[in-house]
């Protein structure tokens, strides 16, 4: 493998030889959810989610707070057992054939801790070893990732002492390390400063251009509108709208469509008159 000065995160390059060639199913969705239901002690958090994330798409999952975004994504990647339904990553059932599916997946979960008493480089090394990667490959990729995310200067600072934005970045670096085919990112832009946000957008854009698939959840509609090729709107545990960006928003802007779809309300001016 030749050393390039710039990080070019094309899955094709990193995956060459590293993955069995049989797994790529041309034309099939990168991530498919079929009738996912999650019932938390009688509360239906997710109520029948069907979703196809086309391979090579930059997919935005939108939804208000409590819509079930994190729950759906957790079930899709194998962190939370669904009450009903199935999830497939490039044709592999996440719950029946987890090893295959998880090898293809890179995940940035939201609201979970990392092994944060390791330093950034140690955490990446750990992730690489867990994934069974050779030591020299881990070293080289980790160095590139730390450079490109601007984390190399943090040195031996433990992740627990990182700022919120740095934690997001090291989490993303961990998700990218094994060059997954599909990236599932829960709120990747939260708490990230604009400069780092631009870096992340840039990296993800190149990743998709190189044939990878990204699905991420967000509240930030402008960002989704700028980045995504496809969007889905999740509310009350169901998919309310799905399609390419243009299909979903039509001639209007995404925010209006979102508020209308979710059933939000617009302040009339009558309420809160005591303010």
């Amino acid at each position: 493998m030749t050393l390039t000065p710039r990080l070019t995160l094309t899955p094709r390059r990193w995956c060459a030889g590293a993955l069995p060639s049989t797994v790529v199913i041309d034309g099939g969705p990168a991530l498919a959810l079929r009738g996912l239901v999650k019932n938390f002690d009688g509360v239906l958090a997710v109520n029948g989610v069907d979703l196809d994330v086309p391979a090579g798409s930059f997919f935005g999952l939108l939804g208000p707070n409590g819509a079930g975004k994190t729950t759906s994504l957790s079930m899709a990647v194998g962190l939370l057992r669904p009450t009903q339904g199935r999830a497939y990553v490039l044709g592999h059932d996440v719950w029946a054939d987890p090893i295959r599916a998880k090898r293809l997946l890179g995940v940035l979960p939201d609201g979970v801790r990392m092994f944060d008493r390791l330093s950034g480089p140690e955490l990446l090394a750990y992730q690489g070893l867990l994934r069974g990667m050779p030591a020299d490959v881990i070293d080289q990729r980790a160095r590139e990732l730390l450079d490109v995310f601007g984390l190399a200067d943090a040195g031996r600072t433990l992740v627990v002492d990182y700022s919120a934005g740095m934690k997001k970045k090291i989490g993303l670096a961990c998700a990218l390390l094994h060059a997954p085919r599909v990236l599932v990112l829960d709120e990747p832009f939260e708490a990230v400063d604009p400069v780092s946000g631009a870096t992340i957008r840039d990296i993800l854009g190149r990743y998709v251009a190189g044939g990878g698939t990204v699905i991420f959840s967000s509240h930030v509609l402008e960002l989704v509108e700028r980045l995504c090729t496809h969007v889905a709107i999740l509310a009350e545990g169901r998919i309310k709208a799905v399609g390419t960006l243009d299909e979903v928003r039509g001639s209007r802007n995404l925010e209006d469509v979102f508020v209308e779809t979710v059933g939000g309300r617009v302040a009339t001016g009558e309420e809160l008159s005591w303010l």
């Binding site: 939370l80 801790r113 390791l118 330093s119 750990y126 070893l129 867990l130 881990i138 433990l158 002492d161």
Partner: protein
Amino acid sequence: MAVTAGPAPAPGPAAPGPVAAPARLRPVRIRYFVRLKLRLIANGLRGQGVRVLGFVFSVTMGVLLAFSGFIWFLIGGELPRADEGMVTAAFTGAALLLGWLLLPLLFFGVDETLDPARFALLPLPRRTLAVGMLAAACVGIPGIATALALVGAVVAAGTRAGPAGALVGLAGAALSLLLCVVASRALTSAFAAMLRSRRVRDLTAVLLALVAASVGPIQFFASSLALHTSFASMLRTVRILGWTPLSAGFVAPYDLVHGRPLLAVARLAIVAASVLALLWWWSRTLESAMLGGSSSAPAAAGPARGGVVTALVPAALRAARAGTFLGLVARELRYWSRDPRRRAGLISAVIGGAAVPLGLQVANRGPGHLSLPMTLAIPALIGAVLIGNQFGYDGTAFSMHLLAGIRGRTELRARAAALSLILLPILLVLAVVVAVLTHDASGLVPAVGTISGMFGTVLGIESVLSIFAAYPMPESTNAFSISSGTGGAKAVVALAGMIGAAAAAAPVLILSAFLSGGLATLVAPIGAAYGLAAVLIGTYIGGDILERRGPELLVAVTPRR
């Protein structure tokens, strides 16, 4: 992470703004805090079998302690001489207060059901908050148990000095209860205020673990001292102790017996003044506790040199083949030294474990004492129990293992291997030290067998148990805090695991008891093989369960917010 943002709103003139007519606000009443606490306890138990079990355990312990305290106070009232009664009451009272001060820090953790930080953004006057938190702190198993025990003191005071005595006793008991609660709260929130930076916090965790682990040996020493102390010197101690807040509330009724009511009032005033002083100090520290910890550690020097893999893997293991197993072992080793919870547990286990054979073998060499191999099995047991909540230590970070889809067997074996790498050398050194101190070199070789047999058996059993009985640790800034209601569950799991594992290791222990002379040497290879087999079987069974139950385990170790 429980980092609260922003300072509490400063009391003072309201900021100018588009405020039309401020609504009339009702003052915040103390009973809201009490009801909140009760509601939080009840919600904590809802639909959680293990927690209910733990709660029942805590209640049982509370009742037992309340009863024994009650009896001790009552005995003080029934003893023939008033002096004896006074000494009993003074020491029982002092022990009660010391227990309130030390136990939360050392063993049970600080109940963070009502964390001052959660009130940071409410515009509560400091006094209301302090009094409310105090009232809420009284409501709970320790508070109620103490109150019940103190009934004994009131009854005893009544039998000594009639109705007036009962009245003074009641005032003394009530003030002392308040003192217990305020002192314990003040101490813990002072700690919270002190432990601003993560580094200081981690260091303090270790120091406290050292103190905690030394309690056993010190107690040993103190009790032997007490056996050789005369009543006269105890009485002298009480004369001094009776003027400190520790015992003043309990000695006061005896002033009536001696016909000096003014002294009784003075003693009660001492306790009351202490309560007020502590309350004032506590309400000061509350404010800084509300601001939460800021973890602005100095940036560690320079970028790391060399490869990232060599940064993670300790030098001694670098020759090993890179892979999942090595990564897990390396990370576990780092965590046993870096995670303050684990480090505190490790230190307590090593010191507490070492105290047992040293105490039994060195101090007590009478007939019928346990043999060297037997006593050394006990620290092995204490050490191996550390993995009982190995997944709870990791918390939601365990999701990384789940996402990487690693084999359950590999994971459990790596975790067991890491703890063995740390503890087995320590246990062997301990065995040599005890053997040298007792001039019992013949016991050393069989001791290797009992240590490895016991250690391996417990590791094997706890590997399986740790999957089923994992409980969350709060992702809190305080290394000593526990989630409300898990204290008891923790004890139940640890106890059940210990008993089961000790029983499973019995064949090795029995063998070491019956083989003597040259045959005793056989205990070493047999014990080692037995222990190794137990680890392999336990992790084999546990590995399959772990792979099946991974997501459920993640839910079990996720702290409830």
